[in-house]
Structures are given as structure tokens and as C-alpha cells.
Symmetry: C2
Subunit: 561 residues, 2 copies
Amino acid sequence: MKSTDKCDRVIELARRRGFFWPSYEIYGGVGGLLDFGPLGVAVKRKIENKWRKFFLKEHDFLEIETPIITPEKVFQASGHIEHFKDPMVECTKCKRKYRVDHLLAETGISNTESMNLIELDNQIKKKEVYCQDCGGQLSKSNYVQTMFKTTIGPFTDNIGYGRPEAAQGIFVNFKRLHEVMRDKFPIGIGQIGHALRNEISPRQGPVRLREFTIMEFEFFFDPTDPSCPRLSEIEQTEITLVPFTSRKPVLITVKDALTKKLILMEWMGYFMALSQQFISELGIPPEKQRFLEKSPSERAHYSDQTFDQEILLDRWGWTEVSGHAYRTSYDISRHIEISGVDMSVFKPHLKPIEIQEKKLIPNANALRRDFGDDTNKILQLLKSEDLTRVQKQINEKGSFHLGKHTVTKEHFEIKTSSKKETGRRIIPHVIEPSFGVDRLVYAAMEFAYSTKEDRVILSLPKNIVPFDAVILPLMTKMELVEETKKIYTNLQKSGLETYYDETGSIGKRYARSDEIAVPLAITIDYQTLDDGTVTIRDRDTWKQQRVNKDELVALIKNYIP
Amino acid sequence: MKSTDKCDRVIELARRRGFFWPSYEIYGGVGGLLDFGPLGVAVKRKIENKWRKFFLKEHDFLEIETPIITPEKVFQASGHIEHFKDPMVECTKCKRKYRVDHLLAETGISNTESMNLIELDNQIKKKEVYCQDCGGQLSKSNYVQTMFKTTIGPFTDNIGYGRPEAAQGIFVNFKRLHEVMRDKFPIGIGQIGHALRNEISPRQGPVRLREFTIMEFEFFFDPTDPSCPRLSEIEQTEITLVPFTSRKPVLITVKDALTKKLILMEWMGYFMALSQQFISELGIPPEKQRFLEKSPSERAHYSDQTFDQEILLDRWGWTEVSGHAYRTSYDISRHIEISGVDMSVFKPHLKPIEIQEKKLIPNANALRRDFGDDTNKILQLLKSEDLTRVQKQINEKGSFHLGKHTVTKEHFEIKTSSKKETGRRIIPHVIEPSFGVDRLVYAAMEFAYSTKEDRVILSLPKNIVPFDAVILPLMTKMELVEETKKIYTNLQKSGLETYYDETGSIGKRYARSDEIAVPLAITIDYQTLDDGTVTIRDRDTWKQQRVNKDELVALIKNYIP
């Protein structure tokens, strides 16, 4: 099997049977946009719901939904206006545009994320890279902002962007959600929705898209209390890490990775282990997964540590399916700074603690006598000093210098009093696991794709299949069709997702259902009319057995998790 | 109760408890954008799933998902570039922009949808309308395009728009979906997703949004066979119609409305009756609903008949919740024309029918003799004529005129042969019911909102509530908390949506759950530890009864449809 074949065949299947295909194909298609057909929507929705259950419901995290259209100010605060950009070159002849790092990657030069524009241009020259279409000379590299830009309101200068991540809709709402949840903390807030990235020249089919569905949550926690109480549940999980320092994969338990400080935060290790399990349950085994650490120059501007969870795809090699970023307090701090809204969290102590507080009591007469009009200025300067240090110097040297002035113990008194502190305000830190759904639909299909006796079988895990079962009359005789439709209607009413198919030979119909991952085929024949039994056939083993039609609902529900 | 009060109170509740609030509020908000919090997302998703079940699954319609970003060509074909626009004026002093029809509506002038720009300007002059902010003079009216405009790819001239409806993603895919479904016809194809309308100055909170979630389906059918086989199920349903001719509401059965041609298409009547039921099940009774027919000048460019389904809201009066448009073959024809892709449907006859086909057999010698170089031109002209008519004229008058030439029976022969026709190619016609979800979340809440003994109760229908039940320990004694958490965990595992609450008096906790529509409150007290019974309290009646804790799952599942 050639390395490119499997991808082509999965994409062919996806298009022919209605999983997904390039958008606007009657107009020649638009790069980086994908349509999901009925089967694709079903798989996509099941993956989304699985994620909800796996990450949000399991931890009592919240889910919100915020707009794609985002005012410029938000991305000024978040740093996206400054940092969300890619290096681009243009063919000086035919004007085709390329993303420089992707172009260089094709000539075998990697690690370009850490290169600056001059270094990129040097590589282009050195490797003699020309336009892939017309062979023309390429322009110098330039950074271009890769968000979709628009205006909010027609004919205004009120700039807006399509969000490249769902995260900012969460950050700007942190204060309200914290209030709504009556100060619950730590807290996770998630969102599933479309996100837009205005890629320069997307070329990787379902893998690199300009519009995609993102599933991400932000986990807000106290940086002074970063321990994860559920760590013990997963600490023995082995994951493959590729630290940026060594660039060598190492199979290691989460516990050891934390001890050796390969993963900085317990919560991060916890979510990474869960993510490995989540991706495994989509049919992609742990040995085809790894966590690649990004180097400081490769990381997003907001991150102190980032791992890309990657899976090994047939054509595209190691491909990111989720990102795990330790975003620190970056985003919340920036939004506090730019919006002026306090989004710190009051964290009560278990019981109030006594703290010593120093207070300055000025001697107004002495100050005014010695410093006249400068008195106020001196008092202001004193306030910004560390009073412990001031007191120490005055005790030791008898005086303290404030710019050109010198003050002594005559001018003020420093009193210490004790005070009860019930808690502290902290700026929460954030860990963000972020998944792209579209890519997962493709990846699950690639891993599920196999052939048997020249026929395609799509062995998707049973809880992400588009249909639970297909219901078939052995032949299109009226009495069989009637009985089959009765059984079909019963199964539909029970909440199962099934469909009815009567066209073509039974073998053809089995084949059609195998390639769209239907786990069970139920055939109604003349024996059914006699004794009420039907044949159930398994997608993967092709084994058949007869069961009573009345047991079908329970049997299928038991089989489909 | 003042008319504006209820809206304010619903919005206050929505914000305080986390249903929805204006987006980007820490930056002062952006008009027309709304965030859904955890409770709002839950209600919204349940309405979406209800719609899926009610319209799509019930009729075996398909669901697809296509991008928001749409290339310009699609909207050129669909007519949106030309027609999707609103009249705008700008304050000449402060530059604030207004939508003219909305501005005039506030001064009591309605029916502006049929006025042209000059008439609008005359009304502004006549009613002495000035800027509402600064009192400045308003500019002349102008049409502005109200789609969000961007480029696909950074720094390109490849224009794209945010889709204002999900429909075009369905139309451009009709051919592929028809193939995927092995020629199933008639067929309904639906989509739920975000849509964008770049409103000039949205001012109606959750009711008029720049970004919203649309649920719509296109029903493709044969215009020569427009009967709806399921009409009998709903034909006796009474609906309130407001025909554009009379502008007077009339309560009429769907059957009568069809007979009197107030509704043009059976399928349209069928979907309208279903929509009335759907909206009723959200808690908005039929007597607060009506179907307002749009006049020809008010209808969208693609429509031959349109009804807005409206509900009576407290502050905003009659407000559209769904649109029912008979889009004819407009969109499909336009996409065929512009893309050049044949999207007609082959409709087989029940059995092949014999048809008489006329064929022209030219007499080359006679033609060349009489017409020389014009022969080919004459043959071409003849081909575009109705051969039956040509034959008739020649038989009657002996000759037929083709521009300046006259032909006779010497020049050709018309032969009739019989042929079997197995079917015909037709361009499908389309009926489109289209709903906005965000508005429905608000409307359901407004209709569910009431007060009792000064406390708010949100009596949402039980199948669109954010939580099925709340689980409460009577007091925060350890033994009660432990037992309560056990019961809570059990309920969660059974798939029910519940939450645990221990803060505050039991009365306060009941009140908190009533105002977020939780149908059942389950209280654990000391008797629970003795005899295993708990108290169940009903949201609407406040009645309580004791039941065994082991019956809870079945009991709640039975109570929540």
C-alpha cells in the first residue's frame, strides 16, 4: 500500500457516501473549507458529545457559547493582533501566495518556526525554491495576519475579526461566570464552535482548514495551589513525550514526567493523560500518539509550556489533534489591564490568618517645618517605599533618603498592628486543552479504514458511528417489506439510529453498510414470519446469528455503548 | 405590570443566573452579539435537538454542516449581493448610522419595506426625524449591503462573506446529496449553525442579532406533483393567517387556507401547522402566534410566497420566530446557470410512457439550391421552432416564414416516431421553513416567566429545561451531605441532568431552582437515613411528596418527557 493511497481512499469514501467533501465544489471549491454530509455530521456530533461527557460533565465544567465575530480590542488585549501571523512569500510572476514554513518543510527544512524573516529568505535562496506553479522568483518573506478581518456594522471603521480560537470568548466572560457560579474555584469553562483561520494556502484536505470546529476548555486555578486532586487516577498512565530539549521520544508515566519537571503542572499532566484516553477511544491507539513539546520560540505568545498531541497519519505523518497550553495568567492579566475590569478571584483562607501590617503616621508639624511645600510630595514617595526597609534604615542610620530629601524619625512614626486576613485576591492561571473536531472525524475514519476480500470496512468505534443498525428485508416481497418496516419503526421509536435499505442484493447491502461503519445489519426473511427471529450480522467479524425480534432493542442498546 | 418591565426582568434573570448576556461586556459590549452561559447553552441545545427530532428525524430529512465563510460567487448566484441590503442614513454631525425603516417605525410609520429611497427620505423630512443622539441632520438614504465582508486568504482580492442564512450551503450541495442518497426525492435537507447579518444598528437585545444560530431546512419537491401525503394529519389544525391583501387576521384551518389559495402549496401548509405545534411545545400557545403574509414588495427576492410566523412578545409586540418561504426553483436555477452544473433531477415515470417525437429531416439539395450559404443558418433557426407549429403552417399555408426566408415542404420532411420515455428531468422547487434559535430561547423564557409570592418561577416546558432536578441536603450535616451526594451521583450516572446545592436555607435553595426552571427539587433529610424516602417538590405547584430513593430515576425519567 502506497503511503498516499489510504488518505485518497478515505477521502473518496467520505465524498461518495456523504461524510465530507470540499465546500462549494460546483464552483470549483475553496481551499480550506469542508462540508459535512449526513454521515459526517452524525460522526462529528457524536465526537463532540463524547468530548462534552469526557471532559466537561465528568468534572462539572461549564459550557458556554459566544460569537465568532470579535471586536478588535479583544485581540489587541489577547496579543493576537501582534502575534497571530505567518510568514508569506508571493510569486513575483503569477502572484500565487505561499506560507514560507510550509514551502520549506516540503524541501525538508523543519524547525522554521524559530527562524526570523531574514533566515527564512536565506533558506529559500540556499535551497533554490521557486514558485511551484510557474517557476517564478519568490518575493521576500513578510508576516501577514491570518485572521479573517471584517467590520462590525456596514461602512464603519469598527474592525472585527473571526475568532481563531474559542478561548477569548471564555476569558472575557471569566468574571461573570465566576459570579454566576457563586465563586466556584478552580473552575473549567469550555466551548464548542466554529473558529476561523485565514490560512495563506491550505493544502491538506480535511487536516488544515480555514474554518473548523474547535472544542476547548480553559481550566482556571490558583497558581499557589496547583495540585490536582484527581492525579492519582491517571499518574501511572504511560505517554510518549518528546521534550523540546532532546527532541527524542520517551515513554514515561505522567507521574515521572511531573517529577522530572518534563510537564510543569499537575493539571496539565492530568488532562494530557485524559486526552490520550479520549483519542484512543476514537480508535487511535496510544502507540500512534505522542506529545511533542514546543520550544520557547515555537510556542504561542501566551504560553509557558505547550504540548501538541500528535497522531501518526498515513499521508501527513505526525499531525496535531490537540494542543495543551499552560497559558499562565497571560490572558486574564491582559484583559484586566486593557478593560480596566478587575477579574481577580477572592480566595478565602481555610480560616482567617493574622497578619502584621505596618502603617505610616506622619508628624505634619515637623514635616511642614522642615520641608514646607514639598511635604505632600515626600509623603507620596514614602508610601511607595517598603516600610520595613524604611524603619530598618532609620533605626540603623538615623535617617532615610528620599531623592534629594532626608527624613528622620522626627518626621513620622511607623506603627505595627495585627489584622485578620480572610483570604487573598489572586489572578487565576489557566491550562487549556484544545481539540479540532473536523480533523478527528478524518483521523478516526483513517484508522477505522481497512479492506477485507476487496471490500471496505469502516470499523469506527461503536459509539461514534452514524447509524447503530441497518434493517433489511431479504428480498423485496411485500410480506417481508411490511414486517421489516414494522421492526424498523419500532427500533426508531426506541431512540436507536437505524435506517432501512431494500435496494440490491443482500451482499451489496451488507457491503454498503460495512463501508459506512454500521455495526449491525438485521435481516428479515421468511423464517421471521414463522418464528419471529431475525438474523443479526456483525460488521467486523461478518458473523451472523438468529435472535428473537423482541430482543432487538435491548440487544442493540447493550452492544452500542 | 408595565409593558417594558417583563422584558427587563427576563433579561436581568438571564444575566444574573447565566442564561445569556451581551457579548464583550467588559469592553462595553458590542451591539447585536450575545453570549450564552451554561444554562442558556443547555436550553438552546435542547431546542435545537427538539427541532431536529420534530422536523428532520420525523421526516427522514438529512442534516448537513457547511462553512459560514462563503465565496462571493455563491452570493452573486443567489442574488444576495444585489438584494441583501437595508436602507441606511447617517447623522451628518455625529456620524451615527441608522436603519431607515427602523427609525421610521419608531415614529409610527410602518410598511416602509415597499418604499424606495426617495419615499423614505420624504418621510424623514415630513416627520422631522433627526439624529436620536445629537439631534443632527440626517443624510440622504442609501442602500448598504448587510453581510459581513472579508477576504478568503490574507491579502487577496478573493472576496468572501459570512453567510446570512444556512440555505446556500444546502443549495450548492443539492446535486451531491441527491447522489449520496441514491436519488431519493422529494427530499428535505436541514442545517443548524451560526449565521451573520451585519445589521446597521441592532437595538433589540436578544431579538435582533448580528450573529445568531439558524435552524432551517430546504424541502425539494416536484412542482408538477406538489401534493403532501401527510397533509391529512394536520389539515384540521387552525392557524391565524394575516393575508397581505386584507392585512386582517383570520382563524382558519390549513385545509381551508389551501382551498382558498391563501397558502399556495400543500407542503407549506403542512410545515406551518407543524411549526405552530413546535412553538406551542416551547410554551408559547397558538393564540399568541400568527402567520403574517409578506406582500410582494416585502418578500425576499427569491420567494413567491412568504409567511412570517410571529409571536406576541411583551415589549416588542409581534415578533418573527420563523419564516416560511416558497423559494420556487429560484436558487437551484441560478446555481445551475452560474456554475454550469446540471442540478436537475431525473424523475422516473411509474412505468415508461410512449411519446410521439417529431424529427426534422432536411432536404440538403433543395435547401442549398434555394438558399446557398444561408442553408446552415436556416437549419439552426428551424431547430429552435416548435415543429408541430411548423408542420401545421406548412400544411395549411404551404410555407413557413423564418426571418426573411420562406421555406416549403420541398425543403424538409417532418417525421413522427414513437419513443419510450422512462422519466423526465425536473428542476426541483423548494419550500423553506427557517427558525432563529437565540430568539426562541428568549421567547420561551418570557412566556415561562411569572411570579408567585414575590418569587420568580420560570415554568419552561420540562423538555427544554437546563436541569431535570436539583438534589439538596436539608442541612449541611455530614451524614446528610454524604447520603445526598450518593443519590446525586446515582442520578448523574443514569444520564439525568442534575446538580447538587447545599448553600443557604432550604427555602432559598428552592427559590434559586424555581427561577432557573428546575422542575423537581429532591431533598434528603434525617428520615431518608431511617426509611430511604426523600421529598420531591414540584416547581410549579410547590407540592411535596415523599418517595423511595430507589424509585427516583424512573420517576424523574417518567416526569421529564
